[in-house]
């Protein structure tokens, strides 16, 4: 990294910053209950940001033997570039979150296969008609940043990812269920995830009708994670700076129900997105975003922090959307790490028992296409169960949920569960900790 900085400085640039990334990954995939493939990925690359004549240039390469080509490309872009408005990082004291796990490093392919095979066997033991898939992945990453201002550091990170899921087709009705884990440590409860998959099939195997209209909805932690994509964008420094976020200019104001406290925790032990520093060398941290419903902080990279007169929060990431891999070609911009919400008073069972009629919403399809930045969400109920007298009575299909997060989560929160569960986003990976949330008067569209 130092060498790249030196080469750039030798070409007369005023400032330089290098990001280095290496990812070693092993993937085991099962399809229709059988081992399908074993894959290995070895990827490495570097990104260079430099400032020449006050203007910012950027280039990346996976051809690490051609450093001159990298510098040439960055210089070519700087010639047309934007005047730089922020500084690269200086040396800083870095946190030391727990992000490497020797158990992940020591995992063998045989062990990974065994975890998938055991989970598949559990699902098939319940119902052999379920077309069962499973995948296990192990990642070992090395990430480094160096700047001309004296920041130079790298860290190692491991990740373990596990998924088991099934597709049950009865007639022309398809029921997809699945559960997964992703984290920097080997923390998956494989049997528990298989049990969750089975339980979801059991509870969703019968289809029931629903009448359209406003109803009480119980959101599972997974559904909360999807709907909070709205809040993830709302506090994003980029959306705030551009005035797109409805939260622009509202620091210190009450935005959500007073029972809602949310943190972006980039140093949480075992968190999938936890790290020592972000992709521009800012120490990662725990940032309270909402406290008692009051907006406390935005999430920023170095540029938006400078612009908003806000401290950088260590969220300048080259995130490949929603997964831990790095999109080298992307410049760092504000991205969430691990979100954590405080639990409420009552256990989940008790909340459910108090619901006369409603819908338990677990998985929403298409939510990513809604106008999330405005707080609007909408999607097909991919996995949702009708609730009658405190109990789920069958699956609701071909229906949609819609709403605005800044209205519903301010005015319509009935209760928040005591339990807080680890979940990914959009049915995939990531580690966020959310409770079950009961909302009243949520719009459900359906036939009839």
């Amino acid at each position: 990294m130092k060498k790249i900085i030196e080469r750039a400085l030798a070409r007369g640039v005023e400032r330089a910053e290098v990001f280095f990334y290496e990812n070693l990954e092993t993937d085991v995939e099962y399809e229709a209950g059988a081992l399908k493939s074993l894959s290995d990925t070895e990827e490495k690359g570097a990104a260079l940001r430099l400032v020449k004549d006050g203007k910012l240039g950027f280039a990346t390469t996976t051809r690490l033997e051609d450093i001159d080509g990298l510098v040439d490309n960055a210089l070519a872009t700087a010639a047309e570039g934007e005047p730089v408005t922020f500084e690269f990082s200086e040396a800083a004291e870095l946190p030391t979150p727990s992000i490497t796990d020797e158990r992940v490093k020591a995992l063998t392919v045989d062990e990974m296969m065994k975890h998938s095979e055991d989970a598949i066997a559990r699902v098939l033991d319940y119902e052999k008609q379920v077309n069962t898939d499973s995948a296990t992945a192990r990642r070992m990453q090395r990430i480094g940043v160096a700047t001309c201002r004296g920041f130079e550091a790298e860290f190692e990170r491991t990740a373990y990812e596990f998924y088991v899921g099934g597709l049950l087709i009865e007639g022309t009705s398809m029921l997809h269920t699945g559960a997964g884990y992703s984290g920097t440590e080997f923390g998956a409860d494989h049997a528990g995830l298989a049990a969750r998959t089975i339980d979801d099939i059991k509870r969703g195997r019968t289809n029931v009708d629903i009448s359209p209209g406003k109803t009480t909805v119980v959101l599972t932690p997974r559904a909360v994670a999807d709907i909070f994509l709205t809040l993830n964008l709302g506090v994003n420094g980029l959306y705030v700076d551009e005035g797109i976020s409805p939260l622009a200019g509202k620091l210190g104001e009450t935005i959500l129900d007073e029972r809602i406290t949310l943190r972006d925790d980039g140093i949480r032990s075992g968190g999938y997105f936890s790290a020592a520093f972000d992709d521009e060398g800012v120490p990662m941290q725990e940032t309270t975003v909402f406290e008692g419903g009051v907006l406390k902080s935005y999430l920023t990279d170095r540029r938006t922090a400078a612009k908003l007169h806000h401290a950088p929060t260590g969220n300048g990431l080259k995130a490949k959307r929603l997964i831990m891999s790095k999109e080298l070609g992307k410049t760092p911009s504000p991205e969430i790490t691990n979100w954590v919400m405080d639990g409420g008073e009552k256990p989940h069972d008790e909340l459910m028992s108090e619901i006369g009629s409603g819908v338990l919403v677990d998985s929403i399809m298409g939510i990513i296409m809604a106008n999330l930045a405005a707080g609007d969400f909408s999607g097909n109920l991919m996995y949702a169960l009708k609730i009658e007298n405190g109990k789920t009575v069958g699956r609701v299909k071909d229906a949609m949920i819609s709403g605005n997060v800044y209205e519903l989560f301010r005015d319509s929160v009935v209760a928040i569960s005591k339990e807080v569960e680890r979940t990914g986003i959009l049915g995939g990976i990531g580690s966020h900790w959310y409770p079950y949330i009961v909302l009243r008067d949520v719009s459900i569209a359906a036939k009839g």
């Binding site: 990925t41 950027f58 990346t60 070609g329």
Partner: protein, 456 residues
């Protein structure tokens, strides 16, 4: 490079049933504006490859950036395949292709300077920001990629291909302080830089639509008759049917194979759908797929009946069907899987006026901000929409997300227009962690009855 690939194939082929090597060299330029500043301006060089081995039905795969260690990766892929394989390898037979596909472009984006690309996007940005006070910011992106692919297989195929992929969008964002609304003008293509130029009329329309949405009420939830425009029709067929036609979604699932049996009726006799790699100039254009199989035009639905599927060699082999040249990968980090190219609903004989004239209360849904499917159910979002009242277009509405079910919605198409248009946007299709793959969609105006729409 070809010699290096041949050496690897020769060295390791006898330890497996089938071996292939894919090497790729990509150069990309990107120019983005957000508000009044350049938000993205970069050049990317991405060089790497993969080796994929098949042994007794099991796959081993290794991807890498260090070409000098390719033997090590190849050996590893073969070892892995030998761990996985306990059955029979079934690849549909193809004639091994030996070919060089040189670039055939009208205007090569590499001949245009970065300064000119920045100036072009800056002009669009100024058009957007100067359009109206209530356009508070913008989001623009232009990219071009020049890619070289080398593919060799142990069956003797050796294909070298050069491809260009160009795309972008111009998105005005309008707001009055509480929530924002946007609409995109987008462009894309595979053989002409000029698709990026001359989009001023589209940009102006995007500004007008985004501003209009500030005054538009949210749609009321319910079940409506919907007329979709050609852009949304394309996304609709991609999500509603295209993905379910991909062989890998079907081949290992006995129950789904029974449901998706060729000859099953999905729509009315005037519904015809194909997916093609042959349309030059579109982003979904392909000469050979990433298994070295010549691409083609594949009928998926003819006269309302399922007649074909999109296959890789393996899914075709396992289903006893024909490979269709549809095995594609987004880059060397991934193996090829069956994907769409340019998916098209063919022309019918209705006119737009006929279609809306028959609707008392419905929605005219225009362009798409995306779509998603889980096989049976799908959703897609209209980027712009208008109510249809008493057979006439009425007020603009917003937040129109539609959902449907493949087993009922296709059969609810009761009119197809005669104004087919294909469209390339600057995005792409995502599947199995591989996003964004360049694809194209096409459709005429289409009327669909009884569509569930989410809303207030």
């Amino acid at each position: 490079m070809k010699n290096r690939i041949s050496e690897v194939l020769t060295k390791f082929a006898d330890r497996c049933d089938y071996l292939e090597v894919h090497i790729e060299d990509t150069e990309e330029s990107r120019v983005g504006f957000t508000g009044n500043r350049i938000s993205e301006l970069g050049r990317r060089v991405d060089f790497g490859g993969n080796v994929r081995a098949l042994y007794k039905g099991g796959w081993g795969f290794a991807s890498f950036n260090s070409l000098d260690r390719i033997d090590e990766f190849a050996g590893h892929a073969v070892d892995q395949a030998r761990i996985v394989g306990h059955g029979t390898s079934q690849l549909a037979p193809v004639e091994p292709v030996i070919a060089d596909v040189a670039l055939d472009v009208k205007n090569d984006p590499r001949d245009v300077s970065l300064a000119d690309k920045v100036a072009m996007m800056r002009a669009y940005n100024e058009q957007v920001l100067g359009f109206h006070d209530e356009i508070i910011t913008s989001s623009l992106l232009y990219f071009d990629r020049y890619r070289r692919f080398w593919f060799g297989s142990s069956e003797g195929a050796m294909v070298y291909q050069e491809r260009v992929d160009i795309g972008g969008r111009v998105t005005p964002v309008a707001s009055r302080g509480e929530g924002s609304q946007s609409y995109s003008a987008s462009f894309g293509g595979s053989n002409d830089f000029n698709v990026a130029r001359g989009n001023e009329a589209g940009v102006e329309e995007a500004c007008r639509v985004a501003l209009g949405k500030l005054d538009a009420p949210k749609v009321k939830a319910g079940e409506y008759a919907v007329v979709v425009d050609p852009r949304l029709g394309g996304v609709f067929i991609h999500e509603a049917f295209g993905h379910l036609s991909e062989g890998d979604n079907v081949y290992e699932n006995k129950n789904l194979r029974e449901v998706m049996v060729l000859g099953r009726k999905f729509g009315k006799p005037f519904l015809n759908v194909h997916d093609t790699g042959l349309d030059k100039g579109y982003r979904g254009y392909l000469v050979y797929d990433d298994e070295g199989v010549p691409t083609e035009k594949t009928y998926l639905i003819r006269e309302g009946e399922l007649v074909g599927r999109l296959h890789s060699r393996e899914t075709a082999g396992k289903m006893g069907e024909r490979p269709t040249g549809s095995a594609r990968l987004i880059d060397y980090r991934h193996p090829p899987v069956p994907r769409m190219r340019n998916t098209v609903i063919e022309n019918g004989d209705s006119t737009f006026d006929d279609m809306i004239a028959g609707i008392d209360l419905g929605i005219y849904a225009i362009s798409a901000s995306g779509g998603q499917t889980n096989g049976e159910m799908f959703t897609f979002t209209a980027a712009d929409a208008y109510m249809i009242r008493n057979g006439k277009l009425a007020e603009q509405v917003r937040d129109v997300m539609l959902t449907g079910n493949v087993f009922t919605t296709l059969d609810s198409i009761d009119a197809i227009g005669n104004d087919l248009a294909c469209h390339d946007g600057g995005g792409g299709c995502g599947k199995a962690g591989q996003f964004p793959l360049p694809v194209t969609h096409g459709s005429p105006h289409v009327r669909i009855q009884n569509v569930v729409i989410g809303g207030e």
